[in-house]
Amino acid sequence: MRRPWAGFIALSGTTTAILLALQRFAQDTFALQNSPELRFFSLRIPTLLALPDPARGIITTTPCLTTLFAFLFRDFFPVVAGGLTVSGGLCTLRGRKFIASVLLFFSLPFLALVLSSPAFTMGALFLAFGFSGLQRAEDDHTARFLGNLAFGLSALCHPVGFWLLPIFALCTVLSVEASWLRRGTHVILALSPFLLFGGMSLFFGWVYGGYPLLPFLDPALSLGAFLALEKPSFALQPSEVLLAAPFLGVLLSGGLSQAVFALGMLGVAFLRPYLFPPSGVSVLFGLALLLSKKDRPGEWLVFLAFFLLGLGLFLARFPSG
C-alpha cells in the first residue's frame, strides 16, 4: 500500500473512532443536547418520519443535503459528517501538511464542533474547498471549477454560506489579474452554483408549499430561521484562541484574498453570531488553510508566532487555568 493512502486511512479511521467514542461516552461534557443544530434535526426528523413521503419533506427543508444525512444516519449523523470531513480534507491534501492536519483534526475544538454542529462542519469543508480553489493558480481550471462547485454545495449544508456570498465574490475578484470584464465573468462563474443550489429550496417551496420563501423563513423547515431564534452562541472559547490564532496569522499574511476571506469571516461571525457555533471560525480557518495550495516559505514561522500569541492571550485571560 502506498504511504499516503495508509496515512489517509489511519487518520480518517482514527478520527471517526474517536468521534464515536466521544459521542458515546462524553455527551454531557460537550453539552451536545444543548446544541441548537442538533435540536433542529431532532425536531425535524420525527416530523419527516410522520409524513407519507419523507423525501418531499427533505427537499423542502433547508439545508436539504444535511437533512438527508441526518434522516439517513440519525444519531450517527455527527460521526458520519466528521468522518466525511476528515476524509474529504485528507483526500485533497494527499499526504501534504500532515502535521497541520493532525493538529486540526485531533484537536478538541474540532471534535466538539463535529459532534455539536455536524451540518456546519460539512458546510465548512465545502466553504474551505471553495475559498482554497481561489488560492490555486489562475489558470488551474479544475481547481476553480471544483472550488466554485464546492462553495455552491455549501448552500445545501448550512445557511452560513448565504452571508459569505459577497465575500466569496470579492475574493474571486481579488484572486485574478485580468480585465474587469473577465473578472466579472469569474464572479458569474463563482456564484452560479451557489445561487442555483440555494434556489432549489425556493423552487420546491413553491411547488409543494405554494410559497417559495417558506423553506427559508419557517423555523420548522429552515435551520437558518431556527438558529436565529436561538441565543447567539458565538463566544471565543479559551481553547479556540489557541487553535484559531496560528491559522488566522497565516491567512492574514497570505495575500489580499486570503486576508479578505479571514476578515470577512470574522465580520459575519460578529454580525450573525448565531450562525457560528463555538470554534466554528477557527475550524473554518484551519480547513481553508490546510486545503490551500502549498506551504509558503516562512509560513511555519508565522504559524508558530501566532500560536505563541494565542497561547499568551489564553494564559492572560485565564491566569488561574
Binding site: D139, H141, R182, T185, L189, S192, L196, M200, V207, G210
Partner: protein
C-alpha cells in the same frame, strides 16, 4: 406491464432516473479529468526547429459531396494556407462519381498541384467512410488526416501532429484536434452549438483520453498513423458515425487516442432543419455503434475492460438514449410542475423523488456549467449567458434523437448530408 401498470411505470421511472444519474456522474468525472492542463504541450520553438526536409509525407483526405463552389474555394485557400511543405502534402479530393457539379467546382477552383482527384465509384452504401476507405487505399503518406469541405484548420496543425506523434509512444495511433466554429455568433443556434462543441472537444474528449477510455472520434481533424489505420481495417462504411466506431475498435487493440493541442474551425449549421438532419445522423450513428459493439458484450469487456464497456453503455449508447428519454422526462416534469406535484405523486416519491430532484438541478446544472467553463476557457465570455438556454438545445437534440431512432429502423445506412456554405466567412 398490463397487470401492474403503476408498478411498471414506477420501475421504469426509477431505471431511467438512475441511468441519468450514472451518466451525470460519468460526465462529471470525465469532464473534470479533461479540465486539467494540457498534458501534450507543443512549443513555438519546437515547431520552428522542425527541419522541412525531414518531415514525412502527410495525406489529407477531403471527402466532398454536393459542395457549393464557394465552399470549394474556401477549402482550396485553407489547403494553400497550411504550414507544411507542399511537396510533402498528399491531398486527395474524394468525389462521388455521380456528383459532376462538385468535380467541376473543384477543377474551377484550380487547386494546387499536389491535389489528386479520386472518383468514388457508384455503390452502396454511399457514405463518407466508404469514400475515406478509397482514399486510404490511395494514401501515400506516413500520416493521414481528414477534413470536411468547410474546415479551416490552424495553419500549423499538421506540424503539431507530426511533433506529437514523435513525442508520444507508438500505441498512440490517432490524435484528435479540437473542433470549434468560425460562425459562433451567427445566431442563437450557432451560439448554443459552440457551447456544446467547446465542452465536447475541450473537456470530454481530453478527459476520455486521460482516463484511457475509448474515444468516439470527432468527424474530422483526426490524425492517424497510416500503418495502424490499415491494420484496423479503415472505417466501417455502413456506420454513419464511423469515427466513433473506429475509436472503439482502436481501444480493443490496445491503441490510444491523444488530443492534439490545435483547433480546426468549422461552419456551425445555422438552420434548424439542417441542424436536426446533422444531429439525427450523429445520434443514429452512436446508436449503431452501441448496438454493433453490444452484439458481443463479453468481447468488449475482455478487450476493453470494464471501463471501456461502461463508456460504450453510458457515453456512446447513453448519449442518444439520454436525449431521447429527456424529451419524455421534460414532458413528465412539466405535467408534474403544473399540478404542483400531485399528478404523478405515486411515481415520484421516496428515493426516486430525491434522485429526480438531483438530476433536475445538479445534472442539468452541471451540463450548463461545464459549457460555461468551456467557452470561458476559450475566451468566448460573451457566450456565457447563452449557456442558460442549454435545456432548450437539449430538447432539440431529443427531437433529433427520436428522428435518428426512427431512421435507424427505416433507413439505417442512409447518410443525411449536412448542407455547408450557409455562412460566408468574413475576413481572413
Amino acid at each position: 406491464m398490463f397487470l401492474a401498470p403503476q408498478t411498471t411505470l414506477k420501475v421504469l421511472f426509477a431505471l431511467v432516473n438512475l441511468a441519468f444519474f450514472a451518466q451525470v456522474l460519468f460526465k462529471l468525472l470525465v469532464g473534470l479529468a479533461g479540465s486539467s492542463r494540457e498534458s501534450l504541450a507543443i512549443s513555438k520553438e519546437e515547431l520552428e526547429s522542425l527541419d522541412p526536409r525531414k518531415l514525412p509525407v502527410y495525406t489529407v483526405l477531403l471527402p466532398l459531396h454536393r459542395e457549393p463552389p464557394e465552399v470549394i474555394e474556401q477549402l482550396t485557400s485553407a489547403i494553400r494556407a497550411l504550414d507544411y511543405p507542399q511537396e510533402k502534402l498528399d491531398i486527395l479530393f474524394l468525389i462521388e462519381e455521380d456528383d459532376p457539379e462538385t468535380l467541376r467546382a473543384c477543377k474551377a477552383a484550380h487547386p494546387p498541384y499536389n491535389v489528386r482527384f479520386i472518383l468514388i465509384p457508384r455503390g452502396f452504401p454511399k457514405t463518407k467512410p466508404r469514400a475515406c476507405n478509397f482514399g486510404l487505399a490511395f494514401a501515400r503518406g506516413e500520416y493521414l488526416t481528414i477534413y470536411d469541405a468547410e474546415d479551416i484548420p490552424e495553419k500549423d496543425q499538421l506540424k503539431k501532429a507530426v511533433l506529437a506523434f514523435r513525442k508520444l509512444p507508438k500505441e498512440y495511433v490517432c490524435l484528435q484536434a479540437a473542433l470549434n466554429f468560425y460562425n459562433a455568433t451567427q445566431n442563437l443556434l450557432t451560439r448554443l452549438f459552440t457551447l456544446e462543441y467547446s465542452f465536447w472537444f475541450d473537456y470530454l474528449l481530453p478527459g476520455l483520453s486521460r482516463l484511457r477510455l475509448p474515444i468516439p472520434l470527432g468527424g474530422t481533424s483526426n490524425h492517424f498513423r497510416v500503418e495502424a489505420l490499415r491494420k484496423l481495417g479503415g472505417w466501417d462504411p455502413f456506420n454513419v458515425t464511423e469515427d466513433a466506431d473506429l475509436g472503439m475498435r482502436a481501444h480493443y487493440r490496445g491503441y490510444r487516442v491523444g488530443i492534439l493541442p490545435s483547433t480546426t474551425f468549422e461552419e456551425a449549421t445555422s438552420h434548424l432543419k439542417n441542424w436536426i438532419r446533422q444531429r439525427s445522423r450523429w445520434l443514429k450513428g452512436y446508436l449503431q455503434t452501441f448496438l454493433v459493439h453490444n452484439r458481443r458484450p463479453l468481447h468488449v469487456l475482455k478487450t476493453s475492460g470494464f471501463r471501456g464497456w461502461l463508456t460504450l453503455q453510458l457515453f456512446i449508447g447513453g448519449t442518444p438514449l439520454g436525449y431521447a428519454a429527456s424529451v419524455v422526462l421534460w414532458g413528465v416534469f412539466f405535467a408534474w410542475l403544473l399540478s404542483r406535484g400531485k399528478l404523478l405523486e405515486p411515481y415520484f416519491s421516496g428515493p426516486i423523488l430525491c434522485i429526480g430532484a438531483m438530476n433536475l438541478f445538479v445534472g442539468n446544472f452541471l451540463g450548463v456549467y461545464f459549457s460555461m467553463f468551456a467557452v470561458f476557457r476559450r475566451n468566448l465570455d460573451h457566450l456565457l449567458p447563452f449557456a442558460l438556454l442549454n435545456p432548450l438545445y437539449w430538447a432539440l437534440a431529443g427531437i433529433a434523437a427520436w428522428k435518428g431512432i426512427g431512421q435507424l429502423l427505416s433507413r439505417p445506412f442512409f447518410w443525411e448530408k449536412t448542407v455547408h456554405g450557409m455562412f460566408r466567412r468574413k475576413g481572413p
